[in-house]
Subunit: 205 residues, 2 copies
């Protein structure tokens, strides 16, 4: 099964700019990409990660280049690929092969893991007619699209695939629970502290 | 197995005050409590919810009253209860019996589900010597305490038990994925909208 990992490193993750400068953000998203691809490769399923990027990138994994926005790029590769086929976003720094195995093992026509705030962090479709429409609360749209093409639906319950890396608060969870390059990148630079209001945040070392 | 649900409704959830007034916050946390207790009762495990509150409350479930802060109250009931014993915080509006079944089915000495930002949202201990220390990043402490008393550890991977209801952003996920009273309470009052910056938030109906 091919599992596409969409990746765009042009000025990524601007919402993390209070914590990371532009070069750091680029290094961080690249660490996330490598973690996600490694986790896909290490699953029990016969899953092959394919990086879907807007520019060619230097990677040990397969790389398909489509200079298009996310939605047409993913829909185009879905059209070109035999089912089952998966799509896992690159910015999942807590992804593990165990978590992905639970997604890949689903026999539902459309198995999906929501992201925090309504995103679609990972899915596998066994229905060849499923297409995507990424936006803020895309997960409800994707479930509706899957229903319209006649797929039965499973929502896979994983915080490791639910936590993405959009906001500074997300990085607290990455530091606390991460095991890969992205967590190492953060732990070299930050520690988790509780502030006066008993709230948790990252502080530069 | 007894599963304690700590509950304190005195001026709860002040961080939700941008969205909910004080009466609404009280109604909302009560809806969460009822959802969590119902979900515990509906698991396949032989699990009995016990509300652990600072004042007596009107509930169909068992109620143990201890007028103490969270940490001594939970440690005291753990001391008085045969293992296995569970503790599930009341503010988990996405909790389902399926998610709790995965926690309750673990045969680890200490099985735990982290909360967003390092909290400890749910655990089951089969080791009689485990005690708690709740604070911001308590989950790492609890794992360390479990290790010290000789328990093997399993971190259960569930976004339904990871999402609590501390911040306005959490309520977006509750509205999108919730099925119980807490989600109904919110959907009567709010809808999910994408703002100009393509970010997702709740808006009063």
């Amino acid at each position: 099964m091919k599992v596409y990992v969409p990746y765009d490193d042009r000025n990524p993750k601007t919402r993390l700019s209070p914590l990371l400068d532009e070069d750091e953000r680029a290094d961080f998203v690249r660490a996330c990409l490598d973690d996600v691809c490694d986790a896909i490769e290490a699953t029990d399923a016969d899953a092959t990660p394919v990086v879907l990027s807007t520019l060619p990138i230097d990677t040990e994994y397969k790389n398909v280049v489509r200079d298009e926005p996310l939605t047409p790029a993913v829909s185009a590769v879905l059209e070109d690929t035999e089912v089952p086929v998966g799509v896992v976003v690159a910015d999942l720094p807590l992804a593990t092969s165990d978590a992905l195995d639970r997604l890949f093992a689903s026999d539902a026509g459309f198995a999906v893991v929501p992201g925090r705030g309504g995103g679609t962090n990972a899915f596998v479709t066994r229905n060849p007619n499923f297409r995507v429409n990424y936006h803020g609360t895309s997960v409800t749209d994707h479930i509706e699209i899957a229903r319209e093409v006649g797929a039965d639906i499973e929502v896979v319950d994983s915080f490791r695939l639910f936590v993405d890396a959009d906001e500074p608060d997300d990085l607290v969870d990455v530091l606390l629970h991460g095991e890969g390059r992205a967590a190492d990148f953060l732990s070299e630079r930050f520690e988790v502290v509780e502030n006066e209001e008993n709230r948790v945040e990252l502080r530069r070392r």
